[in-house]
Symmetry: C2
Subunit: 610 residues, 2 copies
Amino acid sequence: MKESGKTYRIELEPVGRRTEIKAGSSLLEAAQNAGVDLLSICGGVGTCYGCRVRLASGKLSAPTLEEETGLEGEDLALGYRLACQAIPLGDVKIDIPPESLTTPQRLQVEGQAIEIDLDPPVMAVDINIPPPAIDDLRSDITRLKTVFHDRGLSEPTIKFPLLTTFSESLRAMSWKARLAVRENEIINLLPVDKDSLPSHLYGLAVDIGTTKLAAYLVDLTTGETVAKTGAMNPQIGYGEDVVSRILYCNEHADGRKVLQARVVDSINQMAKGLCDEIKITPQHIVEAVVVGNTAMHHLFAGFPVHQLGTSPYVPSVSDPFELRAHDIGLNLAPGAYVYLPPNIAGYVGADHVAMILATGIGSTDRTALALDIGTNTEIGLAYKGRILCCSCASGPAFEGAHIQDGMRAAPGAIERVQIIDGGIRTHTIGNRPPVGICGSGILDAVSELIANGAIDSRGNLLSQHPLVRTNNGKRDVQLTPAEKTGHGREIVVNRQDINEIQLAKGAIRTGIEILLEDAGIKPEDLEQFIIAGAFGTYLDLNSAIRVGMFPSLPMGRYQQVGNAAGTGARQMLMSNRLRRKAVEISQRVEYVELTTHPSFNDQFMKAIMF
Amino acid sequence: MKESGKTYRIELEPVGRRTEIKAGSSLLEAAQNAGVDLLSICGGVGTCYGCRVRLASGKLSAPTLEEETGLEGEDLALGYRLACQAIPLGDVKIDIPPESLTTPQRLQVEGQAIEIDLDPPVMAVDINIPPPAIDDLRSDITRLKTVFHDRGLSEPTIKFPLLTTFSESLRAMSWKARLAVRENEIINLLPVDKDSLPSHLYGLAVDIGTTKLAAYLVDLTTGETVAKTGAMNPQIGYGEDVVSRILYCNEHADGRKVLQARVVDSINQMAKGLCDEIKITPQHIVEAVVVGNTAMHHLFAGFPVHQLGTSPYVPSVSDPFELRAHDIGLNLAPGAYVYLPPNIAGYVGADHVAMILATGIGSTDRTALALDIGTNTEIGLAYKGRILCCSCASGPAFEGAHIQDGMRAAPGAIERVQIIDGGIRTHTIGNRPPVGICGSGILDAVSELIANGAIDSRGNLLSQHPLVRTNNGKRDVQLTPAEKTGHGREIVVNRQDINEIQLAKGAIRTGIEILLEDAGIKPEDLEQFIIAGAFGTYLDLNSAIRVGMFPSLPMGRYQQVGNAAGTGARQMLMSNRLRRKAVEISQRVEYVELTTHPSFNDQFMKAIMF
């Protein structure tokens, strides 16, 4: 029985869509309403179990018999439901696992190709140990040490948990194995196959973004990136941005454990998927490098984050740190380490160090600026041997959040907007009927409306412009009429959306200007302007310049390099020398705190204007 | 409804009692029958929950309502039952937790007093860290490192899991703390109390015997042993001796995990109890040393044991090993390490190294022999700078097993037997009515019967002797008539019991003789004869010499030193120098394999005679 009249607000994460439904409608209807395609092979009768979602907050109807039957083990207890069966009893927030979506969200995993001298932390040592005998009663490890000694190698160490399986594995491999050795520690032993071809050793590089994860499988023997993949950061269900996740941890005793477990779980799934692609197992992954902003770094490693959310916002740990994968439940080789590069400050993390490393601005003589746009935008400026850096609170607008019809870069999102002959043309991801607008789309829309005189320098929509409509005193611009969208509701840009873009681009431009000011140079002195990250890859440069987010330079000086943090992580996976380089960068970087900078207010007031 | 006629065999562990009961009787009746006093305040009606026991094998009646109510959480699933409610449905084996016994079993924790120069691996460093400020945004760890640097100390490291709480703890302690530092690693931080008296640092020494555990709490600041305790090894429920526990692991995929968890759990309980005694918490225990035979060592650390049960019986690991307490679930300070001293061979473990260290035979110029009697008896012989050692399969007879009326050294066990004027006098532990005979009692009995001419040199009971009875062609000697025992059944010694003692003492004497032979000396050359361990403390020396277990020497040369392995563990807890000494001992020891020794058969045939 549907109650008429009442409506509930439904938030769908991690895709970042919001919708309203009538009381009595199911979550599946809510998803369809929002243009989010959940798997629903059975047509919504609760028998295919494809539309499994997790309740993040709010109240749903009691589980049906179909749900009791279809949801395995602890799923129900963990809040999982079938979207076709569960009826919201109020406003709810839902977390959609990737396997329940028909088409995945676009994730940025591309990056620059890497050419470096291989100098990996883990090397292969092939051994043949004599078995014990009645006249050789030495322990397995003692006999192994003799083999190393006889070959002029340093004495090896083996730690927990590898030691718990080592003797059995050696016997199963008939005393012949390839050892993965890190400094003197044995990380794993792998079989030598029938053709006497020992397994290659692999490394995993991971970039933990606040919103997205990227993972790369690297062959440490050849340096080749053999597989890559992306996923949403599952922590989104617990808070969209860094601050709300810190808050979640402050408010829940087991908050840090939960957030750590969720991201480790996702990385385990990605690692397994990458290994499946090339028919190896995560046992072959003998080393990992993980980068992320300071909060993501701390949450991954299990470090406290409370102090990151309280003035003066200091990290618990900023030096590089080596964690044993086993300690945090990451399923790699038993002895595998995870190398976490250094952080710079509470809001400038290891991902920024990785970006500086990958873009090379730390080693160049050129005056170069590199930035990675996200909810927080980190900017690095290299000038005459100095590296200045800052973090701008650019907000989630470019992720599609806080925008009326905003959404993340998923199929059906408007990613390009042009005004040609006074008419609006849009292009969506996957060429699907539009259901919302993502960051590059809203940036384009604002830019085109400025260029066509529909927006003034303060961000007001001008009522006399033919594209601008006025309803009940509120002005907006229709991008797509209801009949052409995927969900039957029009898609518009309004004054509030423009304001969000103003704040976001203003924050970024302010960071750029203050770094330039502190270095004592002008925008035109920049010989290189490097834009990293997913949004940075897909944004239209002309739009970004036209709205004033970036200074105007000759086009040849801009470079869109993709996931530079991921590239830096891969570099550090393959080279001890580059790890040392990254530490050197982190020590050399001069962190500029924007909020207390004397020029901040002036620059910001200037930067938010169009 | 009791079925008449049928009887079931009930084994009660870890006290080591066996009994038969009529079908339909409860486990509580079985325990009473066997003279084992279970707590039963309610009189066996299932309301006091005192008689909680665990089913180790066999089948019991379904749990009653009282049990469903009285057994907490997972207890029922883990096999715990109330003895007054559970009715055996066949032969069963029961594991009795110490808290369900009215009087505890006698456990050997005494050892020699220790006087050594303190040189502990963990030292205290008191610090006062400047808090972060708007003009000092360095991470917590970076500021900590500066404090160390400014005081001329090496750069500290902090590892998982301490790092996961470090920043919060520092804030809670207002930046003032006592750090426990091991080499350069921070093991824990402890508050400085109101009177500015920082906490002492403590260490835990544990001796894991196949049957018993002993634990010592040592103040690392003063060297004092502030508390000690003993417990049964809970692994007994899974196999009485080393071989049967290895078999259990071979036959159960999770066997090693189960046995490890049980012993770690017991050590956690002992550590908690020791800390409670002096009003500290296990967080103050910053280091542990654990000794045991090679199998106990491997099972504790989680190393494979399969190869210990298969010829040529080699250890997985023999070098000293440092394990993080956290890795195996031992609840000490977050960063605490467990130091495992070296093993010598598959059947000569770190406990033997600890015994050699504690008895000082490795450092003396005197010709000295030291032995620790158990299911396996390890013997060390020092002669002119050499240390020879061996392990004898002496069997469990001295633990009261395989003896018709045998039991462990618990209240009611006959521990002394004398024949005075042709009459038998016995003395029991705790002066209780006798319910069985323990190792020292059976040794005395055999010795007295030899001295009184009731047993010949081959071990036969002589039918013409007035103390010897003949029933159905079987001969025995009654120690206590039924009316004087605690359970109403007579206690006897029979031919089979004497045979068990012959085998046990023969094995030990063979080991002694072969070591002497290999060293090229005679028994009378021994200037010191040191007997360690629980049974070694309580045995009557004259009895041991009279049955031929020990060679006959002037009495002044014998020394009964108590738990020398525990003493050695405490020494290694307090001194890095003594750890190095132990390693040196382990490398110098010459292991003599008895079973393949050319003299073994001849020596053994001689040694089993009285």
